[in-house]
Symmetry: C2
Subunit: 350 residues, 2 copies
Amino acid sequence: MSAPASKSPATLHDVAREAGVSLATASRSLNGSARKVNESYRLRVVEAAQRLGYTTNLFAQAVAKGSTTTVALLVADIADPYFSSIAAGVIDAASEENLVVTIAVTGRDSQRELDTVRALRGQRPRVMILAGSRTTGSPFEEHLRAELSSFEDTGGKVAFISQDAAPFATVLLDNHGGARDLAVALAGLGYRDVAVIAGPAEIRTAQERLAGFTAGLAEHGVRLPAERIIHADFTRDGGYRGTQELLAAGAGVDLIFAVNDVMAVGVVSALRDAGLVPGQDIGVAGYDDIPTVRDITPALTTVRIPLEDVGRRALRLATGTAHDGDGTGASAGFGAIPTETVIRESTPPR
Amino acid sequence: MSAPASKSPATLHDVAREAGVSLATASRSLNGSARKVNESYRLRVVEAAQRLGYTTNLFAQAVAKGSTTTVALLVADIADPYFSSIAAGVIDAASEENLVVTIAVTGRDSQRELDTVRALRGQRPRVMILAGSRTTGSPFEEHLRAELSSFEDTGGKVAFISQDAAPFATVLLDNHGGARDLAVALAGLGYRDVAVIAGPAEIRTAQERLAGFTAGLAEHGVRLPAERIIHADFTRDGGYRGTQELLAAGAGVDLIFAVNDVMAVGVVSALRDAGLVPGQDIGVAGYDDIPTVRDITPALTTVRIPLEDVGRRALRLATGTAHDGDGTGASAGFGAIPTETVIRESTPPR
DNA sequence: CCGAGGCTGGTAAGCGCTTTCTCTGTTACT
DNA sequence: AGTAACAGAGAAAGCGCTTACCAGCCTCGG
C-alpha cells in the first residue's frame, strides 16, 4: 500500500497540507462549490486526496451543510418480496440522485414503527418513506402523525406508500379498484362460491382489497357471506392456516381470494396438502404479482402492481423530482398507480 | 402540537436553555455518559427535550465522538430472496446493538461494487458487510481489497459472506460441501444422467457449487460431461434460458441441478413450458432453500442455508459480539455454516 | 495612470455535539 | 476549625467540514 495506514482516516486538513493549499481551497476543489479554483491547484488537491486515500466524511459534511444525503425507508419485513421489490425501486431512484438509503424494519408493529421513526429522525434524513401497511385505530397512529408532521416542519419530506395518509404525500395504490376489477373478471369466468382469506382486520390495505373485491362480486350479483371471510396473518403461513380453517368449516367453495400473493401461495399449499388440486378443484387468486407467483403451479391469478416503480415514484415524489415520462410511461400525474388484472391458470373458466 | 414548529429541528443548545442548564449538562443527561448528573437536573433536561421534540442529531454526535452507529451492507440485488433474507438477519442483529443499516446494491458489477465501497466509506460505518458473490479474476478485485484494507486500517471492520476473502472476516458458506452432499444424496436416489445449470463462470459461489456437485457425483461413479454444464445468468431467467439451451441440445437427462434456487425455479418453468413434467420426467434440484421453493410444484430439492442466521452472524462477527448459544444453537465457532440437504418431490427416487 | 471591479486564496466563524478541564460547593477527616 | 478529597456544573476546546468574509492581484475604462 502507498497509503500510510494511519489509525484514523485522512481528513481534509491532511489533504490540504499535503497539497500545500488552504482548507478552503481543498474543500472547494473536492466537493462541488459555486466558486472556481485554479485548475493547477485543483489537480494538486485531487492528487493529494488520491494519495492519502481520502474520502469526504459525509457526516461532518452534513453537519456543516445542515443537510444530509440520506433517505430512510421503513418496511414491515424486508424479506417479503413485496417490500424488497419496493426497496429495490427506492434504492435505484435514490442512487440516481446520489442519496443513500437506510432501511429499518418495523414488523407491522405500530409501537415499533413509532419508535423507529423517532430514532430515524436522529439521522436527519432528507426524506422518510413509510411502506408498512397503515392500520386503523392504532393508538399510536396519532403520535406517528405528530412525529412526522414535526419532521416535516423541520424541513424533512415524508412519503407514504399505499393509502392516502392525510397531509403527507402518498403513492396511492388503488387497492379497492384493483380488487374490484379482479372480482369482476373472476365472476365473469363463472365463479360463484367465493371465500376470502383477508388479512388482519385492522390493516387498511387488507380492508380495502376486501371491500373492493366484495363490491366487484356484487356487480355480478355474487354475495360474499361473512362466514366466508377469514382473517389471518398477512404472511404465507397466515394464508395456509386460513385455508385450513376454511376447509375445516366445510364450505363448498369454488374460489379463494387471498388479499396478497404471499398468502395466496400459502393457500395453494394448504389446498394441495388437503388433497385438492388448486385451480382445478378450487380457484385461487392473489394480489401484488410478486415475481414468484408466475412460477408456482398453477401460476397464480393476481393483480399486478409495478412494485419497483412504486418505490421509485415514492422517492421522486418526496424529493420533488417529477421526472416523468420514464419506465412504464403510464400515469403522469399523481393519481393512483394503475393496476392490472392478470388471469393465470389458477382460475380457469368454470 | 405544543412544539413551536420552527423551521429547523431543536438543538441541544435549545434544550439546555429551555431547561436552564449548561450545554454540557444537557448532553450528559440525554446521551449516556460516565459522569453522573443530579437527578433533578436530568429530569428538567429530559422534560425540556420532550417539550421541544428534540432528537439527538446523530451526525453531529458521530462527528464529535469520531465514531458512528452505521452498518453498511452491500448486496447484489435486494429483491432477490437470497439477499433480502440475509439483509433481514443483518438488520435484526444490528437493531439489537442499536446500529442502523444502510443498504447499497451493486448488481453483481465489480466496478460498481468498488465505487459503492468508496462512497460508503464516506459514511464511516462501523462495519461493512459484503454479501455479493465474489468473482475471480476481476481487475477490480485488487482495488477492492486495497480499499477495504485501508478501511480496516482506519478503524472499520469488514465481513464477507460466502467464500474466504483472505485477510477479512468471513461467514463461510460451505458451497463445495453442501453441493457434494446433495450430489451424493441424488446419486443415491438413482440419478445418473445429470446436467448442471451453472452460474456465470467467474462467480466463485457458482464455481464451488459446481465443483462440489461434480465431486459428489464422482463418488458414485457418475460422470458430468462438459457439454452438460451450461453457464447462465444467476437469475430466474438465466435458469429458464439455460434449460431451453440444454433441451435444444437434445441431451437425455434425468436430473438438472441449478446452482441456486432462483435459477432452479426458472428450470422448472422451462421444463413445464417444454411440455415436460418436472420431477417426474426430469428431476430438479437447487441450492439455498429460499422460502418459495417449498411452495412451488413440485417442491424443490435443495440445500438449506440458514440465510437470516448468516446475516446475523456476519454482523456479530464484525462487531465482535460473539453472543453464541442463541437461535439455532448450532455451530459455536467460526467454522463454515452447516448446510443441510433437503430432498423434496422434485427429485423422487429413480 | 489610477481607481473600480472581478477573481480567487486564505482566514476564521460556525454546524450540533462531546469531553477535558476549571472551578465552586460539599463532605470527611485530623 | 482547617484542610484534603471529592463531586458535579459549566466554560471552552475540539470533531471534520462549509462558507461568509477579507485581502491581494489583475484587468479595464476613463
